[in-house]
Amino acid sequence: MNNIVYIIVQLLVILLIAPLVSGIIKKVKALSQKRKGPPVLQLYLDIYKLLKKDVVVSETASWIFKATPYINITTALLAGLLIPVSLKLTPIIFGGDIIFIIYILAMGRFFMTLAGLDTGGTFGGMGSSREMAISSLIEPTLLVSVFTIGLISKSTSVHNMMETMSSIGTSIFQPVYILCFLAMIIVIIAESSRIPVDDPETHLELTMVHEAMILEYSGRHLALMELGAAVKQLVLITLLVNLFIPLDSIITLDNALLAIVFSILLYVIKVVVASILIAITEINTVKLKLFSVPNLAAISFILSFLGFLQYFVVGGSHG
């Protein structure tokens, strides 16, 4: 019973909040440029509109092209299922293993890049090729930073990692956590195709990565791809905020149900704050040219490795 509640709550929260993140980012960016910008809930409307539209499928495309939107959204949701939005919800039967999460997201990417190659156009291949290059560069950082946190909590389970992080209190300002936090931010920016690695709003062939891959999609397929990307972005943000901003312990209500409701509210606030911060970062940076991305990846790897070294020398943990 507990598990079913967990699954339903988790899926609903993630599905409902995911499009909000992009909305907030767009709104903040528009405001900074003295524009009114689209409404915060625009992506929901877009997705609904796309679901009602006809689908155009390329003559060249095989079944992979049609299956990918479903695989993409499913893997994103599964990854979301494995990262608890709140510590008050304890997943019992799910081993929310961080390695599993990384690889299941990789599976979504695998199919997305295949779909890019499936239509036989130039854009898709270009997007796939770039996406794979960027992900190869960013993957080591992700693993080193989560391993470092995992070593401190002596587990690779996300839930245990979150518990450890929320139990250490103010020592979260130790360099090891700050370094890993910064490294993870770069990872998230790269993985969710945001400035400065990729620009989700452009359709210029020189710059686009993610948009190039899904260029051939339309109608409900496009809706699923957009939703999948939004969910993936939220999943990564969830991982970041729940690991490095663990405020769940401040809720000390006796009533279990209320505690869950409040912790989810707290989670929503954390996500909103994170989205605003991402928007501010985007306002203040420009998109890097493709071959400057390796430098960024190198910086993120060095950050995470320094984080590990700090743990290695000082011993990390509760002090």
């Binding site: 539209k53 155009v56 095989s62 290695f312």
Partner: protein, 671 residues
């Protein structure tokens, strides 16, 4: 018991001259032999007996006692071999039909049987001389199988390179064996841990590492591998990559544990470093290949690297006295070995199917095969997903165990290992992402998009046998991805017999078959459960989407061509183009060079056609092997002129000096 396997293999040699009948019959016999092999090795693995003597024959010749016996370790390797052989035999029945009338397929099958026989002997020999003998037979039969399509000069060159490298390996193994003999006084494979001093142990280990490492294709001893695997027919490549390169892992475990009794920490660390380098460089080179079989060959280097990472941690953990780490890492290594033989076998067979119907291995000439060969495509896709260690497939399970072993090793004391292990984990993550990129390219360029040549355009699905052979392997990829317990139960016996520790009490949900996480302490995964959740989510999403968009229509139209005329196949992304971003990022490793030449036309500024060539260089060939070869040729040239003068007097002098030398040696060795 396993005698049946031998009988099966040998009896197939009779049908030498009737190609069709001989081929079908011998492959059926190999199939039966492999089934008995599977059964007997599984029975042995679950039985309580430690080892079975198969064959014991003592001859009058000193040292040469012919002795075959099966330990738990060899039973596990024979199991892997038998599974792969079964599928390859089924596949070969149709695959070899393309050679009828052109080549002697019976000869091929004879060599094939001998090759498998030699592999079985390598795994079960209890005597170092027999081991070496079987090893040589294995090397020679595989050499002949590699040069099966011998009219191609490229193939001959590959074969020669393979022959040279494999004999360097044998030379180092011989040194190691003789050193062991000089301490134990016997060529039997027995525990000699107490009689060999540490220094000699280290020397033996280095010799074994070079000897077995060459066979495994670790970097920088890998240069023969990307030539030999692609040159061989695909069914042979599958066996060579799937199991022959694993004989070296077997040898390392056998000699380090059974003979040398464990080893030192630095052995483990060396293997860990070597493994990591092989893993990332192997797959990095694979990414640049446009020949589909060379791509697979390089990826074998990567997978051997991952196995060696596990093995290194095993030896390190054992030397440290940490049996949990040691048996976990051994589990990871041996599981990955098993999995690799399944998915790499499937991929090599799949590439053979591509070759069978298109007659090319060049990805730049393929494309759009998924519509023409739907089943081959699906099987190849499953192979690609497994090898890229995607969840729900077997590759992921062993990769997870390897990462867990690394994770555990950072926890234990020892500063060097911590740093190396975290770097190895980072390297493994990078190798994983490279592998995904590599196999997206392999599948995407060959099977998706528009055909790039008429051969690809006109390709048709391969015969049922070939699909069945590949299909069995891919089926097992999924089966053991969801239920790895089946292999783990057998593996536990092996690790029990080698590191004297069982990881089972530490593994959760070990014996239950469904919905239960498998894990170590608090780290657990449950592929089956998550797959179920995934299917439910996918179905729900599908139904909801179907409901909302119930009134929409689906339309077929050509791909967006930017408003120009029609798209043509040449506008697609190519295999070379796909890996370009990484080629530029890692230009320090690849050292790419490009040539751009305008051709035709009246003015060089308005050429009719352009010739564009991109090359990458192997750093190892350029900076290690070329100077070595040059040095060797130069020095042998000089020595030849100095020593072999052609004068009879000089030769008489040599004989005289030798005799005097021998007499002096005899005088002093007897006193």
């Amino acid at each position: 018991m396993l005698g049946f396997l031998i009988v099966g293999s040998v009896s197939s040699l009779i049908f030498l001259n009737n190609s069709k009948l001989g081929n079908v019959l011998s492959n059926i016999l190999y199939g039966i032999a492999s089934i008995t092999g599977i059964l007997t090795s599984v029975f042995h693995l679950i039985s309580d007996k430690d080892r079975i003597h198969l064959f014991h024959f003592t001859s009058n010749i000193p040292f040469l006692s012919f002795k075959l016996e099966i330990s738990k370790l060899s039973a596990y390797f024979i199991l892997t071999l038998s599974i792969l052989t079964l599928c390859v035999s089924v596949y070969s029945i149709s695959y070899l039909s393309q050679y009828y009338g052109k080549r002697n397929t019976s000869l091929f099958n004879f060599l094939f049987g001998l090759f498998i026989l030699s592999l079985v002997s390598v795994f079960s020999s209890a005597n170092m001389l027999i081991f070496l003998l079987a090893w040589e037979v294995m090397a020679l039969t595989s050499y002949f199988l590699v040069i099966f399509e011998s009219e191609n000069p490229e193939t001959q060159k590959s074969g020669t390179l393979y022959l040279i490298m494999t004999h360097i390996a044998t030379a180092f193994l011989t040194i190691a064996f003789i050193t062991i003999y000089s301490y134990t006084g016997s060529f039997d494979i027995v525990n000699a841990a107490t009689v060999i001093p540490p220094f000699s142990k280290n020397m033996i280990f280095i010799c074994l590492l070079i000897g077995f490492g060459t066979k495994a294709g670790i970097i920088p001893l890998h240069i023969w591998l990307p030539y030999a695997y692609p040159a061989a027919p695909s069914n042979v490549s599958a066996l060579m990559s799937g199991i022959m390169s694993k004989t070296s892992v077997f040898g390392l475990i056998q000699f380090v544990y059974v003979v040398l009794g464990g080893g030192f920490e630095w052995w483990g660390i060396t293997l860990l470093i070597v493994g990591s380098i092989s893993a990332v460089l192997g797959i990095a080179y694979a990414l640049m290949e446009i020949d589909i079989k060379r791509l697979l060959a390089y990826s074998s280097i990567e997978n051997t690297g991952i196995i060696l990472i596990g093995l290194g941690l095993t030896i390190y953990g054992y030397a440290k006295g940490n049996t949990i780490l040691s048996s976990l890492a051994l589990l990871a290594a041996l599981l990955h070995l098993f999995n690799h033989s399944l998915f790499k076998g499937a991929l090599f067979l799949g590439s053979g199917s591509i070759y069978y119907s298109t007659h090319t291995k060049n990805m730049e000439k393929l494309g759009g095969l998924l519509k023409r060969m739907p089943y081959t495509g699906l099987l190849f896709l499953i192979g690609c997903l497994s090898i890229s260690s995607m969840p729900f497939f077997n590759g992921f399970i062993s990769e997870w165990f390897t990462l867990q072993a690394l994770f555990q090793s950072i926890g234990i004391s020892g500063n060097a290992i911590k740093l190396i292990a975290i770097l190895a984990a980072a390297v493994l993550a990078m190798a994983g992402a490279f592998a995904a990129a590599c196999f997206v390219k392999a599948f995407g360029i060959s099977f998706l998009g528009v055909p790039r040549s008429t051969e690809a355009q006109n390709s048709i699905e391969v015969p049922f046998n070939m699909l069945l052979g590949t299909g069995l392997l891919t089926f097992m990829c999924i089966l053991f991805g969801l239920f790895p317990q089946i292999v783990l139960v057998l593996l536990d016996k092996v690790s029990n017999s080698i590191v004297k520790a069982s990881i089972v009490p530490q593994l959760k949900g070990f014996s239950s078959f469904v919905y239960y996480p498998k894990g170590l302490e608090s780290n657990k995964i449950s592929p089956m459960l998550i797959l179920t959740a995934g299917i439910i989510i996918a179905v729900m999403v599908f139904l909801v989407v179907k409901f909302i968009s119930r009134s929409t229509k689906e339309r077929k139209y050509s791909t967006w061509d930017c408003g120009f005329k029609e798209l043509n196949p040449r506008m697609q992304y190519t295999a070379t183009g796909f890996s370009k971003p990484l080629r530029i990022v890692f230009r320090a490793i690849y050292r790419p060079s490009r040539e751009l030449q305008p051709e035709g036309g009246t003015s060089p500024y308005y050429p009719k056609t352009m010739r564009y060539v991109v090359r990458t260089q192997s750093v190892f060939e350029k900076y290690l092997y070329t100077p070595l070869t040059r040095l060797f040729t130069a020095s042998t040239g000089k020595i030849r002129h100095a020593v072999q003068t052609g004068s009879v007097h000089a030769y008489l002098l040599y004989i005289f000096i030798t005799i005097v030398g021998l007499l002096i040696y005899y005088r002093f060795s007897n006193s």
